[in-house]
Subunit: 328 residues, 2 copies
Amino acid sequence: MTLNELGEFGFIGRIATSAGSGGGVVLGIGDDAAAVIPTPGLQTLVTADMLVEGVHFDLAFTPPFELGRKSLAVNLSDIAAMGGIPRFALLSLAIPPGLSLEILDPFIAGFTSRAKEHGVTLIGGDTCSSRSGFVISVTLMGEQEPERIVRRSGAGGGDLLYVTGFVGDSALGLALLRQGERVGAAITRHLDPIPRTAAGVALAAKGMATAMIDVSDGTLADLGHLLKLSGCGARLFLDRLPLSPEYLWRVPELKDDFFSRALSGGEDYELLFTAPAEREEEIAALAASLNLPMTVIGEISRAPGLIIISPDGSSHIPASRGFDHFAR
Amino acid sequence: MTLNELGEFGFIGRIATSAGSGGGVVLGIGDDAAAVIPTPGLQTLVTADMLVEGVHFDLAFTPPFELGRKSLAVNLSDIAAMGGIPRFALLSLAIPPGLSLEILDPFIAGFTSRAKEHGVTLIGGDTCSSRSGFVISVTLMGEQEPERIVRRSGAGGGDLLYVTGFVGDSALGLALLRQGERVGAAITRHLDPIPRTAAGVALAAKGMATAMIDVSDGTLADLGHLLKLSGCGARLFLDRLPLSPEYLWRVPELKDDFFSRALSGGEDYELLFTAPAEREEEIAALAASLNLPMTVIGEISRAPGLIIISPDGSSHIPASRGFDHFAR
């Protein structure tokens, strides 16, 4: 069956069938708007991200199931970076005429599989035709107690700077995909990033993180956002950046600077956060319990400015920091 | 200044400056997610709509200020159709390289002007580049008391069928725009539709409407959605359709059926609702107080099926009902 034969409302019905049903949903897909019950006493967190064909993904090497998972994952990562518990998603799609149900069905299956893993219910959205590329727009709502929500602005002088997992793998994976490779750990990290929901919620619940952001634009760029809003500076130690075995093995054969992907690559969807030095042991215990590395990569300074310390002890101030959608 | 020179974060900063600040916003634009305080006891309503260049609008004859207003209006209309009070919006934009700030600045100004008129605060979204057309994705959150929310599914046999305002003007306006005209009441209705927020809230607050939907796909199509979810049928009287002076004057010179735009045109963003016959006087009083016509155009029948009664008294069952994004 083609999308033409199925029709707009047939396709919406197919999505609604796989949307699942979670607590708090009064009205899901099928009315003018969805209706949900906010948990008393909690604040509502909400974030939106767009993924555009030819900008964020290339269907030539992006399997649709993973694309569906990633479309939600990038939003789950934003809610995690606030320490929030994700709850309800809306999915809007602009679909070019040539895109078949053989792509759309696994895309929806991927989206809903990621949703189920994080307790998220798909409650609405929009579908329409596109004269150009495939465009995906996702809105995700979450919740948290007011005093537990972690902002970008709370870092203080003397705090340690942490990052979860590995950085740079997503950019490495993209480079390998563009070279024609199709399998490997870094490629999986690029196509199907893992949102750090459990880590974000735990860091918030225990009041460990003073400031937090997810690494979407690149470690330096996102650190820059956090420092700007916190009114602080930082020293970042290159030799402490958590690099995966594949990064250590494959990056030297690529021709650019060894650290560039870890610093500016983006799309790792790890959590970059700050915490007082006295919480170091607690954070180590949390990292062990979640089986997720949380590595100290630097320290926050009261004075503004970001200084990068190289493995040889020399220091420099970085010029460009990361991805800007409108830069030339 | 160009968008390239301003950069992604400069542009976001410019949007944030004009976003306004409303009650209930803890964190607006600038963190990983926005945080808002739900009003205790109310349910949260949420809807999302996409507007795609070349599908929903043509920049050749769509002024960007009006496009900004319409991008929010189509979502305001969805919240109004639930009887909800609109509160918080998220705006995501995929921007092609050629789109200048001379278009984007009035677009944002239009969006925020419509937001202020309806008490809505812009709290987040996303901006990215597009390889093809301009794509606008808006999410709107609203609120209402659980027992006041009006669904599509509540119509009952014997209810009267109402529509607010005029139908068919938006489709007429689009036809006139495509013919090269640039001014007139129908053109204004197409470019800058008026969401019926006050009417929707009042109909909900006083428990008048048993079912409600907004007219976005066309009167017949949206009536079909309402009837399907209510498990009812209806008789619709063509000679009761509220047609504007411009419709009566201009449509005869166009070559298609006189009623086709009023029945299938779409994008009027009027409210189509049902109410028990005994509320007729109250609804007339509400219409007078809002200075907004609320016209009885038919009646709900217990038996499924939609029957159209022509001015000469003959009846027929309509075949096709309205716009399907994926129909051939």
